[in-house]
Structures are given as C-alpha cells and as structure tokens.
Symmetry: C2
Subunit: 322 residues, 2 copies
C-alpha cells in the first residue's frame, strides 16, 4: 500500500481524501492542517502542519492541496526536502521558478516532486504535447468551460455591494465550430469565450454601478462579452452551488502528404476539485514508483511514463488497454 | 539529426517518408524493400531489405512499415537485434508474444523497440490508460470511424463477382449520445457500429447473391447492420479513393464524492496511413532518446514519457505547453 498524506484540507484536500478511497493500492495516513486539528473532521487522523516532518517514515507521498498564490511556492519545495510530493501549482508564469525550487529540494533529498498536476495544467497539457508531436504542422486551441472560475467569482465578490457571486466561463460555439472545421482561424480573446455572472447584491445596492464595475474590470472581464444576472441568495444556493468545469483541447494540422487531421480532447466535469483530486492521486502513485526506481528531482506530467499512473502492471495494461 | 531507415515501402512507408520531412531533427537515410530497388522511386536511396544489416552504423532508428499478419512478427524481432525499431503491430491477441520476442532481441542487443504504435493501438490506448487511471470507477467505450476498414474492404473483394470495394465503419450516433450522457449503457456490437459497403461488381454478376454473401459473412459483417451499394468503378475512384478514418474514446465515471465526469478523445483523419506514419516518427524520436539514456528492451506507448516525443526540450515544453 502506498501511504498518502494530505497537506492542506480545503476543497482539494477533501477531494483527495475521497479519491484515495477509489485507489486499491493506497492508504490515507494523515491530514495536515494549519487549523487546530481538534476542529477538523476527516477520514484519517488530523495533525498540525508543523508536525508533518516527524512523520517522514510513515508517509510515501504527500499530496499538497494548498493554493498556488502563496501556499505552494513555499510548501512544495519545503516538503520535497522530506517527502515525495505532488502539487497542482497552476500559476503558469511562475512554473519555471517553482520547478527549479522543487527540483533542488527533491534532488538533494532523494525524492520525486511532480508539480502542476490536474487537468490544466495537467491532462490538457499532455494532449497539447501529444497532438503537437504527431502533427508538427498545425495549430493548438484550448477552450475552457462551461465551468465556474473561482478567481473570477472572487473578483466579483470584492465589489462593493456584492454579497455573493458565481462566474461561468463559456466557450463560444461559433469559435469551436470554426476550429473543428480545420480552418485554423485566428481568434481573439472575445471570440473564444464569454463570461456569465450570477450576482447576489445587498438590498438597495446600485445594480447598474455593480454591473458596470464587473463588465469593465481589467484583466478579468474587460476583454470579454460579459452577462450579469442579479439573483437571490436562495437561487444562487439552489442552482449554482456546484463547481462544474471542463473544456476542450483541439489541434488541427496537416500531415506530410497534405492530408488534414483533427485531434480533440474534452472534459466535462461535475466537480472541478473532485476531478483534479483524482488526477493528483494517479500522479502520487507515479511519484512513489519513480522514486522506488531511483528517480529524483522535479517532474511534470510530461516526464511521467503513462504506465506509472495505473495500478495495473505492464502485462495487464498491454492485454486490456493497448 | 536522428537518422531514420524505412523498412517496407507501401502506404505506411510512403507516409513515414513524408512525415520525416516535418521533423526538424530527423533525416531519412534509406528505404529498404523486398522489391528490386531499381524499380522503386523514393526520396532517399533505396536498398534491398537484406542489405539493412550492413548499415547498422548509419541508422539510428528503423521504422518498420510492414503488415501485422506476417511481416512484423518476424521483422521486428529480427531487426531489433541490430537497430532501435518502431512498429505499428496491431494484432491485439498476439501483442504479448510479439512483446516478448522484441524484448528479448532488443534487450540482448542493447536497443529499444517500441511496438504497436499508431492511433489504435497507440493514442487511443493511451487515452484509455490516462482516463482509467484518473477515473478508476468508470466505463470505457471506443468507437471507430467513420472510416475505411481495409480488412473489411479486402474481404468483400474476395467474393466472386466483385471487382473492387470500399467498406466504411460508421459509429451509431444514438450509441455515442447514450454514452456521452453518462448512462454507461451496455452496447452490443450491432448497437455500436454499422458497416457501409461500396461495391463494383463484374458486368452480369448476381448482385443479390453478392449482397447476401457480404451481409452474412461471419466475423466481418454478420454481427452488424450492413448496407451495400453497387456503384461503378468510376464512382468508386471519384468518391472513395481516400483512406479516411478516426474514432472516439470515451470514459465516463464517478469520483469519490459521487460527482460524474466524462473524458473524451477523438480523431478525424483524412488519411489513416499518413497519420499513423506521423505517430511512428514521434515514437522513433523517443526510441532514439531512450536508448541514448541507457534504456533497452521492448516498450509500448505506455512506457514512453511524453516529453520524449517532442523535439522541444523540457524547459520549452513547460513554458509553452504546460
């Protein structure tokens, strides 16, 4: 059994806790939190985050479930000095620095750290790589949604007069259709996705002002066609409490003889954190196996042989899935 | 530059010849054929198949382009004793034996042999593995087509009174829809695919008898709803001369918290051999790199770290595709 620790116990940590129960070769040893362990209910013993280091010999892989903004840049290298680690770091511009930090710590301690695991970065990245390798002359497209963007929902919640909000990123059907046709269109940000917002406002708040602040918000909304719906707290709870997501990666390209080809990968996820957690568990298996075979340092999904993700052995994989 | 040899010069061999021109890090050194080299026109020098062994120091990877029925079971192990090799062996039931034979030869000679490369087996297999690893509790579906099955076309051509034929495998839309809905339907062979045949008959042939022989042919057609169209040789040449193919791999499953998820991978290929050839070239790159790093023996797509398929280095992959 691969002994798993969960470091950070929010949506993602609870997802990993559930995902481990679906892995016949894994066992959850402990949950580590910055809160008072007495206040946290989990399916395994709960420990203080700072007690993790004393459990080095009891945990094969620590799955880091903190946020990319401030938690993971510190936690992943710090824990890679003592454990095999897997994280879902997704601040794209900072991946090179994060990779270097984790590589140094894991290399020195003789562990494996797999970073930026999930679906994007993660499975979508893999599909960009595979499709690009087999269709060198082509164009990549990634569409996200329909799904909830937590960053955009949070941005709306920070507006004065807003009590709660949920933002959906929605791919534009016409853009998808143009891409699938193989025409390799050049698409602007606005042409690829729209943004749909469900907002609960304070009683008496100036709705026109809130709507204007949303649709004109730089980086988040200004470059998109954005729709704002004001709804009640009850309606938000009833119809928008989930965290669905998904998207599509498409590559269209031309082979050496001029023939056209389309490779498409899509995900439809009822729960973004639940699915991301499942991916983290599969890569925790890989991290453990790679270290057992003598590999050390930082890896990404690009470096992991697919077979390491499955509980099946090579002969069974070849017989049943090849 | 990775120096490539092509062994066998039919549809697939010509596809590889074209695909190599799209790989900036590859160079085609020679084409090996069982025909008289003087009768073969290619974009590289043409040699007799039996002269391959004298060119061991000039070729980094030999891409085997023979058939799975009789060529590859002999050729791949024989050549793996002298070269890194890649093949597209697709006789599913015989993969375990083929793997053992190639593993022994490549292991003893210190080479890498990657077998069963293409899209199914190949990219479809990879997607079954990835989706199964991240959704352990789920159901796999593979649909093929719409596309030309050369085996089924050949089977029709062997019927008395048939001059030529082209058979399309067509996925049943209702079945695809039921699968995508997440209902995990149990589908019979007949419910998943139909078969559509375009047949050129000899003048005066008994068309009713030919049609009956097709639709009742065991293994090939009897388990399917099959449609037969008799057309002229001119119409076959005009509308059915290509070898398009493709298909869809879908896994629907439930995460540990009960949420539902769908992973779907699809290919739409204007030319089956051209696309398969492109996949073979990407895995030739991987075979070369793996052997350079000291790996030996037989591998499949499951064993190859994705990064080895791309001409980009790790830092560029992380920056541009992760």
């Amino acid at each position: 059994m691969i002994k798993i620790g969960i470091y950070g116990y929010g949506n993602l940590g609870r997802g990993v806790e559930n995902a481990v129960t679906q892995c016949p070769d894994m066992e959850l040893v402990g949950v580590f939190t910055r809160r008072d362990p007495k206040t946290v209910q989990a399916k395994a013993p709960v420990y203080r985050a700072e007690d993790a280091l004393s459990m080095q010999d009891k945990i094969d892989v620590m799955i880091l479930c903190g946020g990319s903004a401030t938690d993971l840049p510190e936690q992943t290298p710090a824990l890679a000095a003592h454990f095999n680690v897997v994280d879902s770091f997704d601040t794209h511009a900072k991946i090179p620095v994060h990779f270097e930090n984790v590589d140094k710590a894991a290399g020195e301690s003789g562990h494996v750290g797999i970073i930026s695991v999930g679906w994007d970065p993660g499975l979508f990245s893999l599909n960009r790589l595979y499709a690009g390798a087999v269709l060198p002359d082509g164009t990549d497209y990634t569409f996200w949604g329909k799904g909830v963007s937590q960053g955009h929902s949070d941005a709306i919640r920070r507006i004065d007069g807003v009590l709660d909000a949920r933002q959906y990123t929605v791919p534009v059907e016409a853009a998808l259709k143009a891409v699938r046709s193989g025409k390799s269109p050049e698409l602007s940000t606005r042409e690829k996705h729209t943004r749909e917002c469900f907002v609960v406002a304070k009683e008496g708040a100036d709705l026109a002002r809130i709507e204007k602040e949303i649709v004109e918000m730089p980086n988040y909304f200004a470059d998109y066609d954005t729709t704002v719906h004001f709804i009640s707290a009850e309606e938000l709870a009833a119809n928008h409490s989930g965290l669905p997501h998904g998207g599509v990666v498409i590559r269209t390209g031309t082979a050496g003889d001029g023939t056209k080809h389309t490779v498409e990968y899509s995900l439809r996820l009822e729960s973004n954190p639940a699915f991301t957690s499942s991916v983290l568990c599969a890569y925790a298996r890989a991290a453990y196996r790679m270290q057992q075979e003598g590999t050390t340092g930082c890896k990404t999904v690009f470096d992991v042989p697919p077979a390491y993700l499955s509980p099946m052995d090579g002969a069974a994989l070849r017989k049943q899935l090849l």
